[in-house]
Symmetry: C2
Subunit: 341 residues, 2 copies
DNA sequence: TTGAAAGCGTTACCAT
DNA sequence: ATGGTAACGCTTTCAA
């Protein structure tokens, strides 16, 4: 049964018809056997013949043909950003991916770098995904959500600092990060607080909400002042800021994240500004690296708290579409006090 | 022309047949117009009618149906690893993605976390990609390559420390990294060289070749000795290693990468071992962070040198399949001397 | 227990 | 210049 009836079969990709011919049965029987269809009885001998033929030919079903026939796919699309994903987001995606696989979805990341918003959404829609999970930084508009929905997506979900009208939202509210840092600094008696704002494009998506949270937290305390400090991720930029530090009259700084904090803290120390005596420094992300500095870096630790695992939420929304947009806050922030402030 | 002829059309995903009906033409004409087919003449009035109908209905072509009909896709599949991708690899993928898009390929990342090698390859083959670019860490065997080829992949390319039999290879030869670091240390008169080996699973793929390169470089120098130093990415593990440092009799260490180098250097300093006087430390990756340490971290700087852009290579292999496996070395390593060694 | 046939959305060929 | 029709690979209903 492992002979090739036609030489031609070797040159082209084997189809279920080839398997049927090799096994001496009909295409329907092949489908029944390979999909373990239980509504129909097939003899064990036939089953074995079909499986052997499929194996011999190296037959692999054609996903596009299958989902075309089925009228729907089980593809969950994750449009990828050009933004450097943080550790937190990478872990989130890794977990989401394996959880969704367990629920029998196919997870596909689709890079949209260099497409304008309309082209991008159109490209996603062509793939007819059953659900779309769009991280911050992808250009998803209410119009785009409509296009995805009309092309069959049962659930469109945003993941990021703020929801988008018409889609479900897994909200990572960055305001909590700035808020936690500032409340921590206030509790330590600091009042004139700088907030580092990365000049790198794209990060504004995160830094602006962090600043907003910082401002909001400062309002709770009379006499507290918050000031923006634009900074490029370069030694020269940090040195320049440190050189005029004393003219700013600040007693503390929330440095956007641990990497900017390291950069700034080093520049401050080099400029003779004592940390934390003269200026307290707080980062965010709680990287291992911050613990290796002297003084050890205080940092806002973030984690994702999910009542229901995101994969299950997606599955639920897919099975039961059309409900009102859901919104879930995932980000929990907590400042870990170390030596720098 | 924006009226809906049937209410039914609103509830389901519009097809080219719906567009044809709305525009009062045949499906063929719709296809001609929307694909700008030049071999056939269509009146401008008809063209406008068709386009307007497509727009009104929100028609988006169905990629699966299209590639089923065409008999081939233009999908380039990038199986994703569970491994944390380095900066270098992320940049590589970002560039590859936009370059391939310019050549009109669709790039899809497919997460295979939690699948065994056979399942994974089968899942990839079901998608009928025209090319597969497999980074290190995905379980691609010669058998898997055969399965992909038989299911229509015109090019299978590995990206990583070593080639796989039967596939084209973009080789990132990590031996050069260890070699460059050790040659640097030797030139500074160091002879008893430790090499940090991360205990984290998965990193062995990179650390073992780096060690091999280090050993090879040391052979060129009589009296040079190289010793493995297993280390977990944790402060406790580094402290333990630092505590027994002097019993090891080493005068220098290549610390796998900048992060492990920072961890170890801090632990050494805390244990009273002077850097670089007593022990020289070299990292790899040339991260900004290393420049912020005191002493500033010496590091192996890596870059990808490509004679032909990888996207063009893939395009060439796809258009002209069946050639002998190609192999290209991409990684160039060069040690940047700073203060730590 | 098995086979024939229809149909998913597209495009290419051959008529009109 | 435009329209009918067949075919891509697969699943499923119905009939034998």
């Amino acid at each position: 049964m492992s002979q090739l009836p036609e030489q031609f079969a070797r040159t082209s990709v084997p189809t279920s018809a080839d398997v049927a011919q090799a096994a001496g049965v009909s295409r329907a029987t092949v489908s029944y056997v390979l999909n373990d269809n239980t509504t129909v009885r097939i003899s064990d001998a036939t089953r074995r013949r079909v499986r052997a033929a499929a194996f011999d030919l190296g037959y692999v079903p054609h996903a596009a043909a299958r989902s075309l026939r089925a009228g729907h796919s089980r593809m969950v699309l994750l449009p990828a950003t050009h933004l450097p994903a943080g550790l937190l987001q990478r872990r989130f995606f890794t977990d989401l991916q394996s959880d969704l696989r367990r629920l029998d979805y196919t997870v596909v990341q689709y890079g949209s770098a260099g497409l304008d918003p309309d082209e991008a959404v159109r490209a996603w829609a062509e793939l007819r995904p059953v659900a779309v999970v769009a991280p911050a930084g992808v250009p998803l508009t209410p119009h785009g959500i409509g296009m995805l929905t009309r092309s069959g997506a049962k659930a469109v979900i945003t993941l990021g600092p703020q929801p988008v009208e018409g889609a479900h939202a897994l909200v990572l509210d960055q305001r909590e990060v700035g808020g936690s840092a500032v409340r921590h600094l206030l509790s330590r008696g600091r009042r004139r607080i700088g907030v580092v704002m990365p000049r790198e494009p794209g990060l504004a998506l995160f830094s602006e909400p962090r600043l907003a949270g910082a401002l909001q937290a400062a309002e709770a305390c009379a006499g507290a002042r918050v000031r923006r400090l634009p900074l490029r991720y370069e030694e020269a930029s940090a040195a320049e800021l440190a050189a005029r530090w004393r003219t700013l009259g600040l007693d503390s700084v929330f440095a956007y994240d641990d990497e900017y904090a390291m950069l700034l803290m080093r520049a401050l120390q080099d400029a003779g500004v004592e940390v934390p005596a003269e200026t307290a420094v707080v980062g965010a992300g709680d990287l291992m690296l911050g613990r290796l500095l002297r003084p050890r870096l205080s940092s806002v630790s973030m984690e994702l708290a999910t009542a229901q695992p995101p994969a299950e939420m997606i599955d639920r929304l897919v099975r039961n579409p059309g409900g009102a947009p859901e919104r879930h806050d995932l980000l929990r922030a907590r400042t870990v006090a170390r030596e720098s402030g």
